[in-house]
């Protein structure tokens, strides 16, 4: 884990200090065996993402974008290969340790927000902190501060279902930030929003990356948004076709 890593970057090879990486993906493969046949969803994919980098993963449907995101988010296990977050081989961990890893080091932003509508905005944002066992005062303080930073502190006592799509996605972003994770995984975060609101949400992610040095990996279909990120990884048929610095 301490050895330096060779990263392909626009056909150039660069030796990068290992500690600068938030995420390293090594020879990742995922094969689904079913009655319909054998499907290679990911084929020997490797890449690394530096701390504070805003990376988009793009590609056509079935290219393996979501599979990569699920693996990086430790929601699924690969057939082979390794993923390191903060230098930790996440699949060497047991289920309980992986859950702790997801809680502390990974923030999730979903296309359809995935908020708990029966409870308040504030409680939704606090939830990962509550799960982490953060003290009630700390988690409350952090949640309010983040909501203020994202401009929705006034909505804290409302139910998410009463908010607009853009506001709900901000709540989801706030939730992803509460435990100060190493990486934030955003799965089509603007997919359910109109263009204007989608742009606002994207700008917010960009601001988090640039101003607050957050590492963000965003899966998107939108090439324009992808070009606006620091780096785009284009997947096709389970392989990296291009890895471009924008």
């Amino acid at each position: 884990m301490t050895k330096d890593l060779v990263v392909e970057k626009s056909s150039q090879k660069e030796i990068v200090d290992n500690s600068a990486f938030a995420l390293r993906v090594e020879n990742l493969s995922k094969i689904y065996d079913s009655t319909a046949g054998r499907v290679v969803a990911l084929d020997n994919v490797s890449f690394a993402i530096k701390k504070g980098e805003f990376v988009s993963i793009v590609g056509p449907s079935g290219s393996g974008k979501s599979t990569v995101l699920n693996m990086v988010g430790a929601l699924d296990r690969p057939t082979s290969g390794k993923i390191f977050i903060d230098g930790i081989d996440i699949f060497s961990l047991n289920d309980s340790e992986i859950a702790t890893m997801r809680n502390g080091r990974i923030g999730f932003i979903f296309q359809s927000f995935n908020l708990i509508n029966r409870t308040t905005v504030l409680k939704n944002v606090k939830l990962p902190g509550i799960i982490a066992g953060m003290s009630p005062d700390d988690v409350n303080f952090r949640a309010v501060k983040i909501l203020e930073a994202l401009g929705i502190a006034d909505k804290r006592n409302q139910k998410p279902v009463n908010l607009s799509g853009g506001q709900q996605q901000r709540v989801a972003i706030a939730r992803s930030l509460i435990n100060n994770p190493t990486i934030i995984l955003a799965d089509e975060p603007t997919g359910n929003l109109d263009t204007k609101t989608g742009d606002d949400v994207f700008d917010m992610l960009k601001m988090l990356s640039h101003k607050f040095k957050r590492t963000i990996i965003m899966v998107t279909h939108n090439p324009e948004l992808a070009e606006s990120t620091d780096r785009s990884i284009l997947l096709r048929d389970g392989r990296i076709e291009k890895d471009v610095i924008n």
């Binding site: 929601l75 699924d76 859950a99 979903f110 995935n114 409870t119």
Partner: protein, 414 residues
């Protein structure tokens, strides 16, 4: 996750599905209240039976015509012997018998200054009353002289009927007793006045408290018994001789005369009551199990409906045990609320049921018998814990299923 947050999230989930939660709680309430009611009524009945027989002397036997049924005082008519003075003399001749006390029993219409009520009547040699009822005592007055055919002793419930503002009769007052019998197809009415010479203290034995006691000869005349006794009380020399005397009577009279002891009657009745209690308790437990199945259904549906939420919770780091605990706390809350409400409703229901099921006395008249339920705190706690345990057990499978869901699979579900 700390217990307060766990409780808060589970409670919110239950409130979110108000109607379904309330219906599930209702199932637990029905089950636990049913068990509480039945337990209370059974305990009340058992205590009532014990009280009835505790007032009787330990050395007495009851003898009646024919084989006596142990479950009731009624006797079968086939192959039975008429109990008259000849039989009495034969019974007196048996060894280990210290006394033989014949009785006439029946029911009469009592009239006191325009007020009427039906009452049981027992005609007995008044000097032998304490042989059967050693603890007999008087509120006022004293026993009847053996030759006095116009005096009566009156039980407490006759004097003070439940719900009445004033006493039905007082000491020294004359009461009119009306009895009817059938002679050659014609109904004959006999009316006789009695002076109340003694009012009995409440004994707890409904047979005594609801009775009027008169002289043997007066009873023979009023009830038109023609010297045919209804029942004979036999006092054995000691309580240990009771079984021997019973065997002697069976040996002498076979099945034409039946003898039983208060202990045997009580044992059979208690056994019957226990059998009933076990049956109705089983019904209650079945109701509780039905409630538990309701919890399984509710929580299982809840898991299916909240599958994405479970996926999200897992994605943001919830451990399997946290998800398990969330659903178990929901089951636990349903159980606690259902069991607590069920216990309270069961106690109230027990009292209402005991009033609704107030029955007429089995022999003759008098006010209805009200057997209050008895709720033993330890029994209530047991029912509460049983309801809670069943609820938590019912929540186990859905909770386990939720906890084992793959986050990726859960997040994909619509």
């Amino acid at each position: 996750m700390n217990p307060k947050d766990l409780f808060s999230l589970s409670f919110e989930a239950l409130v979110d599905r108000k109607v379904r939660t309330l219906l599930t709680i209702l199932m637990v309430v029905l089950g636990s209240s049913l068990v509480v009611v039945l337990n209370g009524l059974s305990a009340g009945q058992a205590a009532f039976l014990e009280q009835q027989f505790n007032t009787l002397a330990a050395n007495v036997l009851f003898v009646g015509s024919g084989q006596r049924s142990l479950s009731s005082f009624a006797s079968s008519s086939s192959n039975s012997l008429i109990i008259n003075d000849v039989i009495i003399q034969k019974l007196k001749s048996l060894p280990n018998v210290s006394d033989v006390i014949p009785e006439y029993t029946g029911s009469v219409q009592m009239n006191s200054e325009g007020n009427t009520q039906r009452a049981s009547i027992t005609a007995i040699d008044p000097s032998k009353l304490t042989v059967e009822l050693p603890n007999l005592s008087y509120v006022d007055g004293s026993t009847i002289n053996p030759g006095d055919r116009s005096s009566a002793l009156v039980g407490d419930t006759i004097v003070n009927p439940p719900g009445a503002d004033s006493a039905f009769v007082v000491l020294g007052q004359t009461i009119k007793a009306t009895a009817t019998y059938t002679d050659s197809g014609k109904q004959v009415t006999v009316v006789k006045n009695f002076v109340v010479t003694g009012i009995l203290k409440p004994s707890g034995n409904t047979g005594i408290d609801r009775s009027i006691i008169i002289n043997l000869d007066a009873g023979n005349e009023l009830l038109h018994k023609q010297n045919r006794y209804d029942q004979v009380i036999i006092a054995a020399t000691t309580p240990d001789d009771v079984d021997t005397v019973q065997q002697e009577i069976t040996g002498m009279f076979g099945k034409t005369l039946g003898a039983t002891t208060p202990k045997a009657i009580m044992a059979v009745r208690q056994q019957a009551a226990s059998g009933n209690a076990a049956f109705i308790l089983m019904v209650g437990i079945i109701a509780l199990v039905v409630g538990a199945v309701g919890i399984v259904t509710t929580l299982y549906n809840s898991v299916t409906e909240r599958i994405r939420e479970i996926g999200t919770m897992k994605a943001i780091g919830a451990q399997n045990i946290t998800i398990l605990a969330l659903f178990l706390v929901e089951a636990c809350l349903i159980g606690v609320i259902g069991a607590s409400l069920g216990t309270m409703i069961g106690i109230g229901g027990g009292y209402i049921m005991s009033i609704v099921t107030t029955t007429s006395p089995p022999t003759g008249g008098g006010p209805p018998i009200h057997i209050p339920p008895i709720f033993v705190p330890t029994d209530l706690i047991k029912v509460w814990l049983l309801s809670l345990t069943l609820s938590v057990l019912a929540g186990m499978y859905p909770a386990w299923k939720a906890s084992k869901l793959s986050p990726m699979v859960a997040l994909r579900r619509e």
